[in-house]
Amino acid sequence: MIEKPSHIPARLGFLAGTAADPFLREELLQGIRGHQGVDLAKVVDPLPEEDPRWRVDPIRDLVDDAMHEFAGNRTQADAWLAPRLHASLRMTRREAADRRLWNHIALAVAPDYVVWRHLPNKSEPRTAPERFRGPLDRQCFSRLWWAAEIFRDGNDYSPVVTAFGNQDLVHTVLRSTWIDHRPSAQAVVRLLEAGVVSTGREINGLSVAINAAGATLLYDALAPDVPRDPEPLRQWIEDATTAPPVSRRHLPDGPDEEPVPKESVATLVGHFTDFFETAPVRGRDTEGRV
């Protein structure tokens, strides 16, 4: 494991993928030695000064607490950190789609966390570079933020915690396009909660089945969502100026957006259960028994 950088920036910035590359050294990926952070600061593009959202402290504190709390089981840190990172780093999807911001967090703010969380438990371990600088659903911090964004139900983060209760779900499903439909995301969490699916294979099978049926069925028509309203999120972001640090014990509240219509979730739970029961899942016989 590596130490945290001796120089941690006070504010978040943009670190372009190309600029980040020279810092992804083997000794960092293998968890042997980190960097000091001084050289890295020179290649970072700053974010607007006046915006209080880009302060590094709240994020660094969360990461430290997560490493302390989950020293015995680091995968469980995801379910704890995802909603808290999302509620601390209040952003629009437009802002959160910028990979340079996530590169900066991973390399300048908390490289020690990336290695702590993602260094495999095996001989000659090496952290996958995509955990530092990679697709949004793979990078160490963006995957947490985006999973929280996609699985939250309005201001309620509890579905996010359920979703992270199963690593396979987040891993498999986040990159699927059908998950972008909010009622579909909530329906899958219900299926997990109800124990309809639990193993990685089952989740894969379910995802494939939802995708296949989606070629002819339009889930948006079967399970309508409410129209998006930009105001609650804008307000929530504005409130970041005065918001206290997120609670370590209780789940924070997200932006006060309208929850997904319950009828729509129920409709899809029915459909998805049917698909799953008739889907071919490896390791399960044709009667649907595991």
């Binding site: 190309t18 290649v43 972008d180 002819t216 804008r234």
Partner: protein
């Protein structure tokens, strides 16, 4: 061609954008004129008003193919939905359209696009769904080419634009450019859109690229730009195939952002005569497998040349040179 296990309309839905208006932070609405969208390019450009808008309302008119309302149609409960999706921000929203008159093929309505929800391009499609053979929500027709809704662009152009930035590599605040101080330009394919950094420290280069004087300078300028573009498309292709998401069964997932756009355009030249999905699988196999990746490089280069229209600009400069020589001889 896809095979459906039920009856459908056998032609696509025709979609037109009829109006675009912006909602401003003070709550007022600002209608955009028709230059904000292009039917020919099937593109809407919302960037004309800069940053100062909260949401845009796009007026739509969709025409279903004949047969949707036939009395003997094998379906009931026809509904028409516009669906806006954005692979970069994982946004998916939909809006129901209403039939303009009973028995009409025309359905009208509007869909809202939130500025906070998009970085670049979203895709807009229309689906007609109905209950067929007792199954509700089945798609019976859809648009064949989606419209592009670009939240940033000032002009409704469908093609993907490059970002070209002129910087002095030796003095730039981007320190990572300094090791490249000798290069006239470099390509960065790691960003949201591919960027060419042109080194203004190379004397005369910026002037040449800025020249609109006509004559041979103009032709050289054009050739240089196509050369850069070739570099860009090659780099972009490699970064796109290097970044592919892989399904559990080992097959690659088509990217939903601009990398996907680039792949769709270039793959037919890289692996001709097969469907793009199959072409992508071939490229991925060759790149990750033991053999065939080296052999593919020529084709990737060829695709980049096609994409950058090198042949055209080279012909231009050759013609220019011939004319110049004829001018000096006479």
């Amino acid at each position: 061609m896809k095979i459906y296990p039920y009856k459908r309309l056998n032609r696509p839905i025709a979609l037109r954008v009829t109006s675009v208006s912006l909602r401003l932070p003070d709550g007022t609405r600002d209608p955009l004129d028709i230059s904000a969208f292009s039917t020919q390019q099937q593109t809407v450009a919302l960037g004309v008003a800069g940053d100062a808008w909260v949401s845009a309302r796009i007026g739509l008119s969709a025409t279903l193919p004949p047969g949707s309302t036939a009395a003997d149609a094998p379906w009931s409960d026809v509904r028409v939905l516009a669906v806006l999706s954005d692979g970069e921000t994982n946004v998916r929203t939909s809006a129901r359209l209403r039939q303009s008159a009973p028995e009409s093929k025309d359905w009208i309505g509007d869909i809202d696009v939130l500025r906070d929800d998009h970085v670049g391009r979203a895709s807009l499609e229309v689906y007609a769904v109905a209950t067929v053979d007792d199954v509700a929500g089945r798609s019976i027709a859809e648009t064949d080419t989606p419209w592009v809704v670009d939240a940033m662009a000032n002009e409704p152009l469908r093609g993907l634009a490059l970002d070209i930035q002129q910087v002095d590599f030796r003095k730039s605040s981007r320190e990572w450019l300094r090791p490249y101080a000798d290069a006239p330009w470099i390509v960065d394919a790691s960003g949201r859109v591919p960027t060419v950094y042109v080194n203004s420290a190379v004397e005369g280069l910026a002037e040449l690229l800025g020249s609109r004087s006509g004559g041979i300078e103009n032709k050289v300028h054009e050739l240089l730009v196509t050369q850069m573009a070739t570099d860009v498309w090659t780099a972009v292709f490699h970064s796109a195939v290097g970044d592919l998401e892989i399904e559990p069964d080992g097959s690659p997932v088509f990217p939903t952002d601009w990398q996907g756009e680039v792949l769709r355009e270039m793959l037919p030249y890289v692996v001709p005569d097969v469907h793009v999905e199959e072409a992508l699988r071939t490229v991925h196999r060759r790149r990750t497998g033991d053999a065939g990746w080296v052999e593919l490089q020529t084709r990737i280069h060829f695709a980049a040349i096609r994409r950058a229209e090198v042949t055209k600009s080279l012909a231009g400069i050759l013609r220019g040179l011939v004319q110049m020589n004829q001018g000096t001889e006479s």
